[in-house]
Symmetry: C2
Subunit: 472 residues, 2 copies
Amino acid sequence: MPTHPLEEILHPRAIAVVGASNRGGGGPGFVAPLQELGYKGQIYPVNPKYSEIMGMKAYASVKDIPGVVDYVISSVPASQVLGVLEDCRQKGVKAVHLFTARFSETGREEAAKLEQEILELARKGGIRLIGPNCMGVYYPREGISFSSGLPRESGPVGLASQSGQAVHEIVDLATQMGLRFSKAISYGNALDFNECDYLEYFAQDPETKIIMMYIEGVRDGRRFFDSLRHTTATKPVIIVKGGRGGAGTRATASHTASLAGSVEVWETAVSQAGAVSAAELEELVDLAAAFYYLPPIKGRRVGVAGGSGGSSVLAADQCEEAGLDVIPLPVKIREELKAKGSAIWDWIGNPADFSIAWDDFDFGEMIEMMAANENFDFLILFVSGPWQRGASRSIKNLIEEHMKRFRLEEINKPLLVVFQEGGRGSDSDRTMQKMMNEIKMRLIAANIPIFPSIGRAARAASKVIDYYQRGK
Amino acid sequence: MPTHPLEEILHPRAIAVVGASNRGGGGPGFVAPLQELGYKGQIYPVNPKYSEIMGMKAYASVKDIPGVVDYVISSVPASQVLGVLEDCRQKGVKAVHLFTARFSETGREEAAKLEQEILELARKGGIRLIGPNCMGVYYPREGISFSSGLPRESGPVGLASQSGQAVHEIVDLATQMGLRFSKAISYGNALDFNECDYLEYFAQDPETKIIMMYIEGVRDGRRFFDSLRHTTATKPVIIVKGGRGGAGTRATASHTASLAGSVEVWETAVSQAGAVSAAELEELVDLAAAFYYLPPIKGRRVGVAGGSGGSSVLAADQCEEAGLDVIPLPVKIREELKAKGSAIWDWIGNPADFSIAWDDFDFGEMIEMMAANENFDFLILFVSGPWQRGASRSIKNLIEEHMKRFRLEEINKPLLVVFQEGGRGSDSDRTMQKMMNEIKMRLIAANIPIFPSIGRAARAASKVIDYYQRGK
């Protein structure tokens, strides 16, 4: 199999940042993030206004750089891009990431024309383009980053996004869930490489096990859905579509010059291709966490436990509304409870309400019985909620108590944990907050995905089941 | 108009807690919360096992109390309740709150029979009952509370809930939104006073301007919907229904012995009565905040501003999916921008994308133009999101910058603010968190409701508009 063109581009021997400055963060400051993530190749800042940038020698143009340059980041104004590209062509640069914006997304004829001229010049010079109007590449293993503070650790999630803001938001949310990225690429107007290329790249990339996409418009629908069908046979692909209605479509045009189509046609095609649709970025991350941490879930019969009173009732409603089957508590479990002398063996149900059961039996036993019972395909457990008040005990004790009460690390069935955060922002709640974070970290370390609400856990489980039930 | 029976009961001269103990919090510890909230009447702990409870003389029975007792909280086991009621009858007690549970909600015949005997004895003795199987009354102005840490301040929101856990959760969430309660009552199995009584009480209560309910089952549908129709003419009523499907209905039976009916019939009846349905407790609180802080919204045409890239695109989608009308940016605003020399006057749209506009014009001016434009019925603004990274400036400066950039306190149109929280839990994010909390508090102080996502803001706005458009 030939190497995918992006594979070579993503392992540059040297990166030049044209329009570099001493300012950190996004915008013109693309040098600092490369230093921060420890990019191993040469970094060449380019800006005729400076002799030194971020402690490194600055060059007046790409042509003045002494060594080889494979990859160039352009943050000069749109009017200067053709000149930069000509320099790159002469220098033998393989790829240019155009952070530079204000092209076709402005809706202006001359800007769209300039964009096409850039594409033609790039093609003539054998230069591939990422963007324009995008943040570019975050590839932690290679030490490539476009923003300060992105995690240094690598992971199995690949992300292609037309929006750079979405990459920031998704990486932040995913990091809180314990997920890490193989590569996350913001690709803006998709002038050269487009959504099909990124999808096909992640499909063949051995570092990527789960694929996330944020797409505003598809340039070649036939190729995209063919690739998608092919990819979903081996890797889950989760997609958020931006621009679903009239106003959203207007917004995609001015954001990345994308022409969004009918949302119904889109949803049908995504579903037929075996991919999973998410309505918003939070759901995208929920689904990635469910795919990453859980073994395949074979059916819809869920056991729910650990809630309290009204939260148990609403849990049942939200599971059913998400398309799950909240079966009655199996007779076998009732009989086991009765044999153990439980006073509520005939009363406790599914969801198993912790407020009923707290003085009757060890709740860990209930969860073990549910885990052992063949009638349940998977479990959703509440381990935290606003009903747990007054954290006067030491943090360590409460963590131990949580883990012991629910025996979560011993469960041998797909398990989603609902970790709802409450609290009124008082001082005692900050202690609670710290404790909750420790429990969260420990759950994640035990490969248990956590969700902030029963609704989000239930919807993620249901869509993951859809994926596995499509004949895989 | 005669005084509502609950009005007299809620102003007791003395409260006796039967089954009191020295343990704080919920469960048997109903004495401490009364002390904590500064209840002005006499508190009498009753428990034959103690001579002193929480620093107060304990009595062996209600009959042994020297003074008058209007209100009794029962946390003795179910088997002792008839005895307690007989004592109360002899003592002339007016109302008993039965925290005591394990009656009809167990599904057992003898428990349901005992519950009926309790009702008969109470009626014979002229005693009104709250519960059984509930947390009872939180009435901050009167100093009545059932749990430690509930706010001392009073407010305009009345809450009646079949679930005590839901009261805790709703009060916590609402407090974070700056809302306070007139009374919040958990009423469990609704043996004597039921949902109709609580609704009718709040309807006539001058301290209550907005009514929230969490209902698992309605005992008298005709009376309830008549009262509801009557009430919604003057006060918004927001209702979460627990037990919407098969499993949820089974759960309501074992939680509060409620028989939930068809969800479709319920939704239609609620809507026809002019009340507002919420799917979960978070939405209940979102809606209360929208009703409390916003003037009536007259139409669906929304101006959206302050998002960035993909978040602006998804904002448009989510507003439309919530039933709002995200109109194109009015020509008048484009002309004003052009006159001011904006380079993006023809490109910027609605949503107005901050990432496009940040170096072109003062974003506060855009919001002022939207606020002044007659084509918009209301505005939704993002003031915070994960794209705002690297809070190196002082907290105070960043708050000032936020408030100045958006000029939120000057806006003369219904305004919802989206305050999305991101961050990766690092140390710098804790500083960010503190800063964000300060901005939030300042927005709330300026009577601006805040929402954690565009979807929640849009859905709350849409349902509030539904309410006002039903011929009010």
